[in-house]
Symmetry: C2
Subunit: 341 residues, 2 copies
């Protein structure tokens, strides 16, 4: 099924509105979900909509996000999202980070008592659009082990950094696991083995069986990924007063608020160098990379975020392709809430 | 050869002083070098001393570091290190980051026109000692390829983050390459093969021959390590006006200033949560990890920085062990500059 990007956004927004989500929040959530599909990150896209509605129904998430400032200085703030929407909380927080960075140079904003915020790059791209460097991170459900451990005390805690340029921003958005759980799901569906190093069984043994892996835990991107996940848990969870580590409930199984934490940072490059000079130096940095000789098996060397941007251009031109299963799921939601897709 | 930590520091400091390095700078450089040995990171330890002296002799580095502020706001500053010592420049910059963070909440300090700054954790630990979260990064000699490229346009650009706790700080200090070049050196010395994925030949081919690898380029820690290295190059190099990417001269081979860039950030957790609460939550975070069941082949799960701290305790108690080759090298320097070891 093909659907235009804007049509899918409108559909998601209306479904959320019918579920008591305020219009300006529904707009951000729909925009973030469909943005994920548009850049090719389907795992964070509209496939999450029914889960969000389920959590609304269980009352494990609030339909509106009362953002409350708990602490504030010139360059920092801590928001309580009151168990509202991570996407909306993140947008407010990153806007504030950019505002403070534009005034004072740099800013760090924490959010506590929040929920799944979608893709981290959704927020860092907002900062880059304002000519700031944006950094975003979040702690998440503990489905990953620390390096050398058999027990899951870490999420796949993502980190995103985006850089303004003369073209689309340079965007890093990485989980700290070796591979995304979605890849293991795919192997399970396709009846294929997975390499060791992706996951362990519930008993802590190496496995090549995707089904055992899905019952078990993800492995981090080596000791470095493990360390990075820990630092993200500390900065977005321990420091903001949110839940952290193994205490975070699972979004799919546990019927209680996740109380996640996020951290957003913005740096105004103008405090270091004229923005035009920065961007022309970025042109050079990009050229060094994309004009370098590709390795065997590669046709072109890309900057972080280039492939996602190519996906966006394609999908905005040609529309998004939904699997039959996803389309049927959305259509059923549409029937239930009287919204046509 | 065994030598007490303080004796080795004193030796390095005196050698540097005899080479026209001002006393307060010699102290920082000696402290940073020996700190690296003390925590077990010998690659960044006193083995670098003769290289530093060689660069002094070639006049590719200045013996004293005239730190000049080029730009400044409440929460940012850009220093020109005037081709002086990275360790000293880093110390000044991180002190300033902490000072500004204590006043305004968070700070970001850049350094341009600098040199090798030793271990990045040397600076982040300084911040943690002051109850701040410290972040440090640096761009370095391009000996690594971007993901999917055959040409080296990236350094192994390190990132360190340190967190204050009730015990020693939690410290991440990671290069963005898959493995350190030192591991390949070791394999070459021991006549052993290396796994593919560590490095490629100068022609861009996979190799298990450490000698070919040493003539070639390091591979990044997957696409994520590549992306992170790029972001570090941008934030510490492109943004500070330093050299970046493939334009950075090699420290060992090229007879010209490296003009590296560093970036230091400090966050005062007190702006988010009482420091005592933060630290007792850190106790919990640490306990979750170190009390978790170890994986097969591991006796204990550690927090980032624990092993380095165990090394420090051991070396401060028992002294450092220098290889015969390194001891002879240092003794020869001692004879040359009339400093006894």
């Amino acid at each position: 099924m093909k659907i235009a990007v804007d049509d899918l956004k409108k559909f998601c927004k209306e479904i959320l509105e019918r579920n008591s989500v305020p219009i300006e929040e529904a707009e951000v959530i729909a925009d973030s979900l469909v943005d994920a599909n548009t850049i090719g990150v389907d795992s964070h896209g509209v496939t999450r909509l029914s889960l969000y509605l389920q959590r609304l129904k269980e009352a494990t998430i609030n339909s509106n996000t009362k953002m409350e400032i708990l602490r504030e200085t010139e360059t920092t703030a801590l928001y309580d999202a009151n168990n509202g929407w991570g996407q909306y909380a993140g947008k407010i927080a990153m806007q504030e980070a950019v505002k403070k960075a534009k005034k004072y140079g740099t800013a760090t904003i924490g959010v506590t008592n929040s929920n799944h915020f979608g893709t981290a790059s959704y927020f860092t791209k907002m900062a880059a659009k304002e000519n700031c460097i944006g950094i975003a991170m979040c702690n998440t459900t503990p489905i990953m082990v620390s390096w050398g451990s058999n027990e899951p005390t870490l999420g796949t805690n993502p980190l995103s950094i985006a850089i303004p340029t003369n073209r689309h921003p340079v965007v890093l958005d990485m989980a700290t696991s070796n591979v995304a759980r979605g890849k293991i799901n795919l192997a399970a569906k396709d009846g294929e083995e997975i390499p060791t190093g992706w996951a362990i069984t519930k008993e802590g043994k190496d496995t090549t069986d995707p089904h055992e892996a899905l019952k078990g835990y993800l492995l981090p991107l080596g000791p470095k990924g493990s360390g990075l996940a820990m630092m993200i848990d500390i900065m977005s969870g321990v420091m903001t007063g949110a839940l952290f580590g193994k205490d975070i409930p699972r979004m799919y199984d546990d019927k209680e608020p996740q109380r996640l934490g996020h951290l957003f940072m913005a740096i105004d490059p103008e405090c270091f160098i004229e923005i035009e000079t920065f961007k022309s130096r970025m042109d050079e940095r990009i050229e060094q990379t994309v004009k370098s000789t590709p390795a065997d098996g590669y046709e072109q060397v890309y900057m972080p975020g280039d492939i996602e941007e190519m996906n966006r251009e394609k999908h905005e031109r040609e529309g998004l392709t939904l699997s039959t299963a996803l389309y049927e799921e959305l259509r059923a939601l549409g029937t239930k809430y009287d919204v046509s897709i």
